[in-house]
Amino acid sequence: MSMLITGGRLLDPAQGLDRYADILVDGGKIVAIGEGLKGDQVVDAHGKVVAPGFIDIHVHLRVPGQEYKEDMRTGTAAAVRGGFVGVVCMPNTNPVIDNVPLVAHVRQLAAEQGLCKVWPTGAITKGSKGEQLAEIGEMKDAGIVAITDDGRPVENAETMRQAMIYAKQFGLAIMDHCEDKQLAGGGAMHYGKVSALLGLKGMPSASEELHVARDILLSLETGAHVHIQHVSSKRSIELIRWGRSLGANVTVEATPHHFTLTDQAVMEMDYATTTKMNPPLRAEEDRLAILDALRDGLIDVIATDHAPHHLDEKNVEYQYASFGITGLETAVGLAISRLVKAGVVTLERLIELMSTRPAQLVGVPVPTLVEGAEADITILDLDKTWTVRAEEMASKSKNSPFIGWELTGAPYATVVSGKLRMLEMNVL
């Protein structure tokens, strides 16, 4: 059965495309772009923007082992509901994805139950313990697109250096969760005036910056591609700017929560544990620096760090709550509201940040709107005003600080390999 997307504004900045036309999809591919086309299933995109499919390179699907938080079905349902055609999933599962059978297991589950594309990553070190290298080459052959010990840092600089040298020969990016554990000191939020007022243990920005600086220096030394995950601090951004100026192969992602919220939210929301994540929400100057870096092009990718947790892990004292919030279903709304509508980035740049660059960064086919390309398409409704509601979320977990927020701009439809997986924020 063919599908016809009619009347939308097709916007694909990578090929300079900006025109109103229909798209005919058949057999999983875009077969024609033009006017007056006919198809079986019609998706009315009048007044909407038809973009190459969005990809989130930082998602915790929680499989295997933590299906009480999220599973393959609910995680990918959240992805397509949020407008994503594909996700890169993190290996800090139980057990840690550090070998071929586990990579194969995730890919098989994705093939059987996934509503969107799923590209696994593998651990840098066995068990993500920061000691022995995992079988990176074997995992690459099994389908991983990057390596990461996300959720924790690689504490030993020499281990990181060897991992970089080793990963480089396989052409894999190292995605790093930058955190000096001693400096972070068991903190629950950003170290600063707000943590001092609330009497919560703080994590100083330097706990991130120290590892950002280290990774840049090691990248300069080894030539490896290091990707800084969820950048949160102003000085981290300055360090990346400095590293780039020296020619370091360093890329960086920013999350919607870090460009939207600050540590003030912990106070304003009266210790709500949906404000607790790692790295933490930082100060306003940090948030503004992230916006600047989005504006001037330093930041490569918007990624969510979608981190579902069970209510039992969040409905406790702040200090004892798990780190992390869900992000897949609010990312596009926040990006349009907070970045495009606010004039921080153009819509074209947003598409680069959420589609083109994420795909390039992990080396998967770049979604594009041309005849013959795979039909991975995200349709946006820039003018829809909607309220984020927990009961409407497709994710198994509802740990989002944005519940109750009114956003302008929403994903309208998600087409994955030619299949309509979401329409008007209903998962199909």
Binding site: K193, A196, L200, D270, E317, Y318
Partner: protein
């Protein structure tokens, strides 16, 4: 007499001066019960509360218990050692089980900041914060303010020096939040490693020179030093701490001649405070304890809304 129009007492930062005035005025009225031959008012007969202490405490827990008993409330006390926390029950489950037994309030002490805020959102009964982590200890802040008000007749314009580990101190925070609402000139002093970031923005003076804080002070409030901080490299030795930040007779002379010397207890004599000043003429440390009972009676009375006034 009107009661407090709030469910919980979580901290002084969120309270108005009208509310604080009401509590302090009520405490002034109730204080003499402690010295009466018959220490019993029927005010809270038929009311009950639970003290739930996840940290050791002698002074605060007994102060709440006695305050309740003097007002004829039924008081049940649970301490860490006898609670079900060691069986791994969550705070929420413990609190819900206690609540269903019908108390009008839960008085809680807990080792992490915000725990009382969390509890208050999850139970219908009143929650009274008896100290949560590094966050607040509102009844201590109130009893300190009551003591100053009784002795000095006012709070506005007084120079109040708070000396010691400000960073980790919920007593310091509640004092700062409360006193600044009244226009007191608050100075905090301690080693830089024990001073919190950004507190200058609260309109107080932050210094590592204890002499600067003590100079011309009307009130000197010396905080307890948690000796285990030494293990975390926050200060090198008790001797060095005492040399630079300890309050003894010579340093106390920098304050006004009639300055009050306060300490929330328990004291480390010879560390943050010298015996000569702790037991000296300017010390009001034991009166603080009496005022603690008075403040807690006032809060219980105003919150649990027992019939007619005393």
């Amino acid at each position: 007499m009107p009661g407090l129009k709030r469910k919980d007492i979580l901290g002084l930062r969120e309270m108005s001066t009208e509310e604080i005035d009401l509590i302090l005025d009520t405490a002034d009225t109730l204080k003499d019960i402690v010295t009466r031959p018959i220490k019993k008012l029927p005010t809270l007969r038929g009311k009950g509360f639970v003290t739930l202490f996840y940290e050791n405490s002698t002074r605060t827990s007994k102060s709440f218990e006695l305050a309740g008993k003097y007002l004829s409330a039924d008081v049940t006390s649970i301490a860490l050692a006898t609670s079900s926390v060691q069986k791994g029950e969550t705070l929420l489950d413990t609190a819900r089980n206690l609540e269903i037994m019908g108390p009008d309030a839960i008085v809680m002490r807990h080792p992490v900041g915000g725990a009382c805020n969390f509890l208050a959102k999850n139970v219908r009964c009143s929650v009274i914060n008896a100290g949560d982590g590094m966050h607040e200890h509102p009844t201590q802040g109130l009893l300190d303010m009551l003591t100053i008000r009784q002795k000095k007749g006012r709070l506005k314009g007084l120079k109040v020096a708070i000396i010691g580990d400000i960073f980790h101190s919920r007593v310091a925070r509640s004092n700062i939040f409360g006193l600044t609402k009244y226009g007191a000139d608050v100075w905090v002093a301690g080693p830089s490693t024990l001073l919190p970031p950004g507190f200058e923005e609260l309109g107080i003076h932050v210094t590592n020179r204890v002499e600067e804080a003590l100079e011309g002070a009307d009130v000197v409030n010396v905080l307890r030093l948690q000796l285990e901080r030494q293990e975390k490299a926050l200060f090198p030795s008790v001797a060095e701490y005492h040399k630079f930040w300890g309050v003894g007779p010579d340093r106390l002379k920098l304050a006004k001649a009639d300055a009050l010397l306060m300490h929330p207890g328990p004291m480390n004599r010879g560390v943050e405070i010298s015996t000569y000043v702790a037991d000296g003429d300017q010390s009001v440390i034991l009166e603080q304890v009496t005022n603690g009972v008075a403040v807690r009676m006032a809060i219980l009375y105003l919150l649990l809304g027992g019939g007619d006034a005393a």
